[in-house]
């Protein structure tokens, strides 16, 4: 359209020039001059014709190209350029409700089960347990932040409903230099298991070492952390944070006044300065050594005050390894074999300097678990746990929070779809504090997920 308009215009200008210059045309006196002018005009018109022909040819070519794309063939009638109306999707909010229930029994009675099943979301009584009903709301706030909140509902051993704000945090979406900041109330990113929600666990209960060091609800608190995705040849992420060390979800730190650890009563200690905050660090690495094998290796550390004195501190270190193998061909993500191991050590300064009962409580523990997804929807698991105290406190063996414990847990899980699961688990406990030194438990677990599709986090 443009070129042809351009051509007509140029021809019109020439004609106008001719009309506007009658003297030159009709003078008749100087024929040579007139002939020269005419020749000039002819040449101009020829040049114009040439350029317009060239332009027309280019246009023709483009049209041909377009025809190729728009398929004149009847069988392939849909024109490629057919405008498909862009759908507007409001994926701004994800809302989900997950329910986790257990039923079962143990050779230990309910009083003993309280210590045996130390996790607040473990099946903790003979009969039925509402382990965790979790309302999760998350989404994108604006171009800068995502946010998420998880509110949990539980029915405790006395039959009363308990509501907890498990997590509520903001997380940046696109800070420069590979940085990301998270702030609010959140699970401390220590190891692989601690930040996972109960409904994503591979076993019905929390590993003993985590219940022991982090309390029944896991380690979570208010704070902020910064993460840096380092520019290295593999995935390597460093996370540093600060959190409030107070409350029952910070068990190894300030915890709750009047609680006890190895005979040391906890005082009401507050955060007075930066030294009294809980400092968290994690270095997390991910690799794919093979097309069929992925692995993560992490190192975590915690440094914070504890309330057994005014100047006492706790340090916890841990390392975690996760490997997953999947063959080249998989159906619905099956089959697979995964292996997850964590080892933790805690040094707890109990009592101030000068206190005659001052000691350093040195505990450690590990769990290692293998999962085998042998056919779509079916997973067999086996977990081995060991926890113990390294120091020579004579009361360790009778202290349910510091004795030597071993636990072996085979289980079988069936996922009818991505939204439900049914799990049967057997626990064999060997534990020093029990009179029988051993216990057998069977648990059946049921889970449902309503609402938003669950995230597949590796």
């Amino acid at each position: 359209m443009g070129p042809s308009y351009f051509c007509t215009n140029r021809v019109a200008v020439v004609i106008c020039l001719l009309l506007l210059n009658p003297a030159a045309v009709f003078a008749g006196e100087d024929n040579e001059d007139l002939i020269w002018q005419l020749t000039e005009l002819k040449q101009q018109i020829q040049r114009l014709q040439q350029t317009s022909e060239q332009q027309i040819n280019t246009l023709k070519q483009r049209l041909e190209e377009l025809e190729v794309i728009s398929f004149k063939n009847a069988r392939v009638a849909l024109a490629v350029s057919t405008a498909v109306p862009a759908r507007t999707e409001n994926s701004g909010l994800r809302i989900g409700l997950s329910g986790l229930f257990a039923a079962g029994g143990s050779s230990a009675d309910n009083d003993k089960l309280e210590n045996l099943q130390g996790g607040a979301h473990d099946p903790g009584q003979n009969g039925f347990t509402v382990q965790n009903v979790e309302l999760s709301v998350g989404g994108t706030v604006d171009p800068y932040f995502d946010a998420q909140a998880n509110i949990i509902f539980q029915i405790n051993a006395d039959g009363e409903t308990v509501v907890e704000l498990e997590e509520a945090f903001l997380i940046t979406r696109s800070m420069p230099w590979g940085l990301q900041v998270k702030g609010g109330q959140y699970f401390t990113e220590f190891g692989r298991q601690n930040p996972q929600h109960p409904h994503t666990w591979s076993f019905v209960d929390q590993p003993v070492v985590l219940s022991r060091f982090f309390g029944g609800d896991g380690l979570r608190s208010q704070g902020a952390r910064i993460s840096w995705l380092m520019p290295l040849g593999w995935y390597s992420e460093l996370k540093l944070g600060m959190q409030n060390p107070k409350g029952e979800t910070a068990t190894s730190f300030l915890n709750v006044p009047q609680e006890e650890i190895a005979g040391h009563a906890l005082i009401d200690r507050d955060v007075r300065n930066f030294d009294d905050l809980l400092y968290t660090a994690r270095w997390f690495n991910g690799f794919d050594p093979l097309d069929t094998l992925s692995m993560n290796v992490g190192f975590s550390g915690l440094w914070g005050p504890n309330a057994s004195g005014l100047t006492t501190d706790t340090k916890i270190y841990g390392t975690d390894l996760y490997m997953k193998w999947q063959p080249i061909y998989t159906q619905r993500g099956f089959p697979f074999v995964s292996w997850h191991t964590e080892i933790l050590n805690r040094r707890y300064e109990a009592g101030d300097w000068g206190d005659h009962s001052r000691e350093t409580l040195d505990d450690w523990g590990l769990f290692t678990q293998v999962l085998w997804g042998f056919k779509p929807g079916w997973v067999a698991g086996l977990r081995w746990e060991y926890v113990s105290a390294n120091d020579d406190n004579p009361d360790n063996a009778s202290d349910p929070l510091r004795d030597t414990r071993k636990r072996l847990s085979p289980n079988l899980t069936w996922y009818p779809t991505e939204y439900s699961k049914l799990r049967l688990q057997y626990n064999r406990d060997w534990t020093e504090h029990l009179p029988d030194k051993t216990a057998h438990s069977f648990w059946l677990q049921l889970e449902f997920n309503l609402g938003s599709h669950a995230a597949h986090v590796f």
Binding site: G286, D291, T330, E418, A455
Partner: protein, 302 residues
């Protein structure tokens, strides 16, 4: 000497600029990667997050994937809920503003093709794994391949205006080649037009649409739900009553159900690669349809 130094410096500069000019494109599937390589040529470096041998719906946001998205200039996704389980955690962890939805570095290809199988009535999970937004296996129609290539070329041209013409030329060459290829495939498979088929999963409706066969039933009683003995037996009845000759399925599904149906009814099973990379010899989008057509012919001509 001086001259030599200057030319060496220029050469290095050119290499550096050239290296810089390469766009890093990350795709969620190998089909998208193959199309991008077709229109991007050596101007782009393409990496797929999942392999064609696996169902992309069941992937997880692995650290290696996060790292790729972190460094990407352009992220191409299938959309229509295909990556619903892992795209959101991936984008959150990748902290890359360029490829966040709404920015030029994010392209959802389900927006440029006419989706089939949209559900207009009420949708419930009791119906199985249904996709209300439409069936996400749209790359299995070569016409959609051209639409996708066109959208990719346009987006590459926006992100790298210096080579816009080049992307357009490559697109035209690809579309031309695809057009003539499609004629061949259509002629070869003309005898399948109107024939009833059975599919394992609801993932071949686009293929049926372009080649004109009808998928009348699925091995899965509901999308994503494994067949039971009872559902297989009622399928045997259906196959015999309607004289259904071909069962099509992806390589990654279990083969026992298909074998059982084949033994009971004589139905022929065509294992169709559903994606680039689903078999070792399928490296391009053309290879994919060559292999599909060959597998359909093997089953159809017997």
């Amino acid at each position: 000497m001086n001259n030599y130094n200057i030319s060496l410096g220029l050469l290095l500069l050119m290499v550096a600029l050239n290296g810089h000019a390469t766009l890093s494109v990350v795709t969620t599937t190998q089909d998208l990667a193959a199309l991008t390589e077709m229109v991007g040529g050596e101007r782009v470096k393409v990496q797929s997050l999942t392999q064609g041998t696996r169902d992309p719906h069941y992937a997880a946001a692995k650290p290696s994937m996060i790292r790729k998205v972190f460094r990407a200039d352009l992220l191409l996704v299938i959309g229509a809920d295909m990556e619903i389980g892992w795209l959101q955690p991936l984008l959150q962890s990748a902290r890359n503003a360029r490829v966040q939805p709404g920015n030029p570095g994010y392209l959802d290809l389900s927006n440029v093709v006419p989706l089939l199988g949209k559900i207009s009535g009420p949708v419930s999970r009791a119906m199985g794994d249904v996709h209300a937004k439409g069936n996400p296996h749209y790359w299995l129609d070569p016409r959609n391949g051209i639409r996708m290539a066109q959208a990719i070329a346009t987006r590459l041209g926006q992100l790298d205006p210096a080579h816009k013409e080049e992307y357009q030329q490559r697109l035209n060459a690809f579309a031309k080649a695809m057009d003539s290829k499609l004629q061949t495939w259509l002629t070869e498979l003309a005898y399948l037009e109107g024939k009833p088929f059975i599919a394992y999963h609801k993932s071949f409706i686009y293929l049926a649409d372009v080649f004109g066969f009808h998928i009348v039933d699925e091995v899965e009683p509901k999308p994503g739900i494994a067949p039971s003995a009872a559902s297989l037996n009622s399928l045997v009845m259906h196959i015999q009553n309607d004289d259904i000759g071909i069962l099509i399925m992806e390589p990654y599904y279990e083969r026992r159900s298909a074998r059982y149906l084949s033994e009971q009814t004589g139905i022929r099973v065509a294992v169709l690669p559903q994606s680039v990379g689903a078999q070792p010899d399928i490296n391009t989008y053309f290879d994919l349809f060559d292999a599909i057509v060959a597998a359909l012919n093997d089953a159809g001509e017997k």
